[in-house]
Amino acid sequence: MTRLLLLAPYIGLLWVPFYNFEEPQLFGFPFFYWYQLAWVPLTSLLTYFVYRSVRHDG
């Protein structure tokens, strides 16, 4: 079931009305930009959780 985490970035990024805004800003970045950039480490992290849960077969 952990594998379902891999779907999260698709939901978070492919529904643009979630993030097509200017506010709130972060370090001068409009929301549109920092939201999508934040998905980069988040996706890595989620994939890492899934990685730890699969059987390692070389």
Binding site: P9, L14, Y33, S44, T47, V54, D57
Partner: protein, 502 residues
């Protein structure tokens, strides 16, 4: 652009170029194999690349020199819409994590080198193999040409004129790829990627500090789009669907290309690939920040002849000569790695799925390696001639179609990992429908990748590649249902079993 040559920039450029050339030739001795006279060695580096080498190689190969030039150029020209490359290069990795370890295992067990091998092994169909392999080759050729365009921009920024520098650079590349195979770009990728990281980090720290911070950069871009009356730092309502369909379609296509698949097959194991799916997004962060250079161009008030000049001009304007030279070297070397891997991927396809099948079935392992080496040279010379002799727009249009074409190989390449339901004639019919239908749509839309669909009076534009893939899968399903089931014959037709665990 003036013909002034900054000597310190040129010296830095020449230093790095000589360095990577030496590395390219030395690479044949790196992690030395008993002999390079085997396609597994020349074309896949012995399938022994561990996590870090794979990370540098795939990163260096997927985030190409053209990306470094074109993504900021697109963002400079139209704003937020150009950022679709960011969601694209994020959502591609969960897909790599889920699919590519299975494909690697099938390839390793059965000695597949190319996508064509996978398809023949899975479905036992020469026709489907030929369709997939030739799609791979023709989708890759214009991609190599684009790397040359990236390199041309960097060389021009140095103040060098004429075609000699680029011809020289490409011939040197062709020679060491010939002698070292995939080991050459794998080794050079270390240098290239580290250089690009330094360049981008410097840019995202130094440039905003000179231009008054990120807030000022975004406002300047916003004001510039306002004044132009085109583009913006947010998407307008007509851009939403194009943005996501381009991101999704590009992500599905990304690892179907011969150069990315070569990086996957060359890795040492399924786990190496999984770890890379976790680690490769580091490059995506870099790409996202790099894209912002387009906005920095507006904040710096650059006057450009062409949008593609935004990155080089920014470095020339805001950095000392030697560092600008370093940045241009990074971009030019950045073109060499993907161009080498692409030509190797295309050469592997030609050798395994065309030469060995149709010309000389009895070719030895050493003969195979020889054919691939020569093909890799011809492919590069072809790309060079295309850039020198044909209008640049031709390569750009073909590259755009190439993305649509390669996407049509996905069902044949991937579905067999999960189900044995599909049969070769159905997949072939689907491929043909997607390939021809998609190309015709792009053509009728004036070589634009978006097609307008009307639902109840509401018009939305969708990435044509995704429409073509939908047609492809639909046709494959229908044909498979209609076609009478044939008895499955020999071992060749055994479907690679999907992994049972999940």
């Amino acid at each position: 652009m003036t013909a002034n040559i900054d000597m310190s920039a040129l010296a830095v450029f020449i230093f790095f170029f000589v360095l990577v050339t030496a590395m390219g030739f030395f690479a044949s001795r790196w992690r030395r194999a008993e002999s390079l006279d085997h396609l597994d060695e020349w074309g896949l580096g012995g399938r022994k690349f561990g996590t870090w080498i794979t990370w540098f190689l795939v990163g260096g190969d997927f985030y190409t020199a053209y990306t470094v030039i074109a993504v900021p150029a697109l963002v400079y020209a139209i704003g937020a819409y150009g950022f679709f490359a960011l969601p694209y290069t994020i959502i591609v990795y969960p897909l790599v994590f889920a699919v590519m370890p299975l494909l690697w295992k099938a390839a390793k067990e059965r000695g597949y080198v190319t996508a064509g091998d996978v398809v023949r092994g899975t479905y036992g169909s020469r026709a489907l193999e030929l369709a997939v392999a030739s799609t791979g080759v023709i989708a890759t050729m214009p991609y190599i040409a684009l790397q040359l365009i990236g390199m041309e921009v960097a060389i021009k920024a140095l103040g060098l004129t004429g075609e000699m520098p680029i011809i020289l650079a490409f011939l040197v590349l062709a020679l060491y790829t010939y002698s070292s195979g995939l080991r050459a770009p794998a080794l050079i990728a270390f240098v290239k990627d580290i250089m690009i990281y330094i360049v981008v980090l410097a840019a995202i720290i130094v440039v905003p500090s000179k231009l008054g911070g990120y807030g000022a950069v975004f406002s300047a871009a916003d004001a510039a789009f306002e004044a132009k009356g085109k583009g913006g730092i947010l998407l307008d309502s007509t851009q939403l669907v194009p943005y996501v369909t381009l991101a999704l379609g590009s992500a599905l296509a990304a690892f179907m290309y011969p150069h990315t698949l070569t990086g996957i097959f060359a890795s040492s194991g399924a786990n190496t690939i999984r770890k890379n799916a976790v680690l490769l997004p580091a490059y995506t962060l870099l790409l996202g920040l790099l894209a912002l250079l387009g906005y920095m161009g507006h904040a710096a008030g650059l006057q450009l002849e062409s949008n593609n000049d935004v990155v080089p001009t920014l470095f020339k304007t805001l950095f000392p000569g030697w560092f600008a030279g370093f940045a241009f070297s990074a971009i030019a070397i950045g073109a060499l790695v993907p161009a080498a891997v692409m030509s190797i991927g295309a050469a592997n396809l030609f050798t395994r799925n065309f030469w060995k099948v149709w010309i000389n079935p009895d070719v030895t392992a050493a003969g195979e390696a020889q054919v691939a080496k020569i093909t890799s040279m011809l492919v590069k010379v072809g790309a060079l001639l295309a850039i020198l002799l044909l209008p640049t727009q031709f390569a750009l249009d073909l590259q755009l179609l190439g993305g649509l074409w390669i996407l049509q190989t996905l069902p044949a390449l991937v579905f067999g990992l999960y189900t044995s339901w599909f049969r070769a004639p159905a997949l072939l019919a689907g491929w043909a429908a997607g390939f021809i239908g998609g190309s015709a749509l792009v053509w009728s839309d004036g070589l634009k990748p978006l097609h307008a669909l009307a639902f109840d009076g509401v018009t939305v534009s969708v990435y044509t590649g995704l429409l073509a893939l939908t047609l492809n899968v639909t046709v494959a399903v229908v044909v498979n249902l209609i076609l009478p089931a044939k008895e499955t014959a020999d071992d060749d037709l055994t479907v690679v079993e999907a992994e049972s665990r999940s």
